[in-house]
């Protein structure tokens, strides 16, 4: 979590992103999907926050809202202390150079009509960095950084496997020497044997270049390897936030506990009590009153359906472990 220094590289304060739902004859806004509903966190230089949650919990929307690929509904996004919500496109350019994104689907995120070199140098072209020669040289450096040879630069994305394409996507994200990268499920489309290769690459980049990551994943096992801290999201809100060590050894929120117990363990002799949650995630159009999780929580109490639990720190001052659950009061 944030150190003594108050200006984190990135600080998000009470960020909200609602999507209007239109209906009826006049296509009026009838309701709203509360995709991200009041999220706050900090990411320090070179640190990685893992964001975990199930589909529809708002984790991807949050990642995109931070880069202003979605316009936030309200809240603040502070980059080195400066709020970038409300900045004009022209003013945003400087910040965009420092913040990049790696997408989930390496098949959809690379243009099929461009060569590898064109894809990787595009950010340099857009931001007008270097001469043509310098850009060419940079492309080769970047390919080497992600473990690929210069000989592939004139080939097209369809000639590559998923893992190789993801490396090309990472090279593109690195082109502008960003300080912060949103990695949105970067390995979930890949096969197991390739997944670990890409995770190792990301871990190495983090170490060598000191890049901070917001690493979004639905997989607690994947996210453990790359994160310093983890935020668990449910229905648009962070319900638990702790360091990797604390979260995995002592998950406090019943949702985090259920999420962990639901992961199939590759060991047929493993005996453990699985918490099987009843029912489905409620609709973010019509979230339940009180604690968002009370409709599925195995430990729900009376007050859970009426009162929203506050986020409390159950850790120490220097090593906070924050959780929003009445059981922690």
């Amino acid at each position: 979590m944030s150190g003594q220094d108050n200006t984190a590289l990135l600080e998000v304060r009470d960020l909200k992103k609602f999507f209007p739902v239109r209906g009826g004859l006049l296509q009026r806004v009838v309701t709203q999907v509360r995709a991200v509903d009041g999220v706050s966190f900090k990411i320090d230089k070179g640190h990685t926050l893992g964001l975990v949650g199930e589909s529809g919990c708002g984790k991807s929307t949050l990642g995109r809202a931070i880069l202003r690929l979605h316009e936030p509904t309200s809240g603040q996004i502070l980059v080195d202390g400066q709020d970038i919500v409300g900045l004009q496109r022209s003013q945003l350019g400087v910040h965009r150079r420092r913040m990049q994104i790696i997408f989930q689907d390496p098949f959809a995120s690379l243009s099929p009509r461009r060569t590898v070199a064109q894809i990787i140098r595009e950010p340099l072209d857009v931001h007008g960095i270097g001469t043509s020669k310098e850009r060419e040289r940079r492309v080769i450096e970047l390919l080497a950084d992600v473990g690929m040879g210069a000989e592939i630069r004139d080939r097209y994305p369809h000639e590559f496997s998923g893992g190789q394409r993801q490396r090309i996507g990472i090279a593109r994200a690195l082109a502008l020497d960003p300080e912060f990268i949103v990695a949105d499920e970067p390995v979930s489309a890949l096969d197991v044997s390739v997944q670990s290769q890409v995770l190792n690459l990301i871990a190495e980049l983090k170490k060598k270049r000191g890049i901070a990551f917001l690493f979004i994943s639905h997989d607690l096992a994947v996210i453990q390897h790359v994160s310093d801290e983890i935020g668990v999201m449910y229905l648009g809100q962070i319900v638990e936030h702790a360091t990797v060590g604390d979260l995995y050894s002592e998950p406090k929120h019943p949702y985090t506990q259920a999420l962990m117990s639901a992961i199939p363990v590759p060991d047929p002799t493993a005996k453990r009590a699985r918490i099987v949650l009843e029912g489905d995630v409620p609709s973010p159009m019509n979230p339940p009153d009180g604690c968002l999780f009370h409709t599925r929580c195995p430990q729900t109490q009376d007050r859970c359906s009426t009162t929203v639990p506050a986020m409390v720190n159950v850790g120490s001052e220097t090593n906070p472990h924050r959780v929003a659950c009445h059981l922690q009061d």
Binding site: E54, S55, S161, G162, G163, Q164, D191, V192, S193, V194, Q195, S196, Q197, L199, N200, A203, H218, D219, L220, A221, V222, Q224, H225, V244, Y248, S249, A258, L259, M260, S261, A262, I263, P264, V265, P266, D267, P268, T269, A270, R274, V276, L277, G279, D280, V281
Partner: protein, 337 residues
């Protein structure tokens, strides 16, 4: 558990399936042989393109042709040859004696009909029930797979249901004719972990209740460990290992199986500096090496591996089988089998 003397429910022998592509003929499965015994749950595991889905589809006679073609081999179900069976005969078996559930329940269900419509069709066709009887029977099935308020849900359309609910509806449909064999192709891959846990539990429960064999096709070894008795590991269209779950996870013999096990992301008590990987990547099916297909990525490969394709041995039915020139040693001490 089936013992050695029992006759297999399903016996696949030397199955070869080819697909014609723009760039040439691709062999999706190359001489695969395996048996499935009554009441057992077997996992077919492998990464994308290894031929696991094609294998599942071929059992139901669902290989799209063209471009696909069964070039050789046999698929026997309860003693009856399915390869080359006339389509009208196949229809009596498909969806009735052998059922299948798919990865994406949204595309497998018809969006313009209600759940009830789709379910009663199957029952009326195979069991000759009246519409009313079929409806009652469908409601009963929906209740069995754990759908709350089934009498109400039956009149809803697929888009009104969540992913987990849709998969349950698929399962209810697949089981409505009391099949002897259920083929489940990545049934939980599109679902969230908490929903996956619900659905897997449901499948295991129903497997016992309906006395059927289940072939679970998946890329997830964690899912296999929790639900299957036996696993068939595929790589590039060939079976590399066919073994009991205990042996696969404690003593994998094929280097690919071992590599796959090591590289599964799992929650560890201490974070590793670097995750174990399998170097390189899966070869292109159009340009397969002459020898073992895993040789280029294998830590144990030598000259022999580059020249000669290893065959699955021994050729017993229920014994552990591995296709490797230099397998890891089998540990003699194991659970009494």
């Amino acid at each position: 558990m089936a013992d050695n003397k029992e006759t297999p429910l399903l016996s696949v022998q030397n199955l070869i399936i080819e697909f014609a592509t723009e760039n040439g003929v691709v062999r999706a499965t190359d001489n695969i042989s395996f048996d499935i015994f009554p009441n057992e749950t077997v996992g077919i595991v492998g990464e994308s393109g290894c031929g696991k889905t094609v294998t599942g589809l071929s059992i139901l006679g669902l290989i799209p042709s063209p471009p696909g073609r069964i070039v050789g081999g046999s698929i026997k179900f309860m003693g009856r040859e399915l390869v080359g069976l006339a389509e009208n005969e196949m229809r009596k078996i498909r969806g009735c004696r052998i059922s299948m559930i798919f990865q994406e329940p949204m595309t497998a269900l018809n969006p313009v009909f209600t759940v009830g419509n789709q379910m009663t069709d199957v029952l009326m066709r195979h069991h000759g029930l009246t519409r009313r009887q079929a409806r009652d029977s469908a409601i009963e099935m929906l209740a069995k797979v754990g759908i709350p308020a089934p009498a109400k849900r039956i009149d809803e359309y697929p888009h009104q249901l969540s992913g987990g609910m849709r998969q349950r509806v698929m399962i209810a449909m697949a089981l409505s004719c009391d099949p002897k064999l259920l083929i489940a192709d990545e049934p939980t891959t599109a679902l969230d972990v908490t929903t996956q846990a619900q659905v897997l539990e449901q499948i295991s429960k129903l497997q016992a209740e309906f006395h059927m064999a289940v072939v679970l096709i998946t890329h997830d070894l964690g899912v296999v460990a929790e639900t299957c008795r036996r696993a068939i590991v595929m790589y590039c269209g060939r079976i590399v290992e066919n073994t009991s779950i205990e042996h696969l996870f404690t003593n994998p013999r094929h280097p690919y199986a071992k590599g796959l096990l090591d590289s599964i992301p799992q929650i560890r008590s201490r974070r590793l500096e670097e995750l174990p990987i399998i170097p390189g990547r899966v070869p292109d099916l159009l340009h397969l090496p002459p020898g073992c297909r895993f040789a280029a990525r294998c830590p144990r490969a030598d000259e022999l591996c580059n020249e000669q394709i290893p065959t699955l041995s021994p050729a017993g039915t229920h014994a552990d089988r591995v296709a490797c020139h230099h397998p890891y040693a089998a540990e003699p001490a194991g659970p009494a089998s």
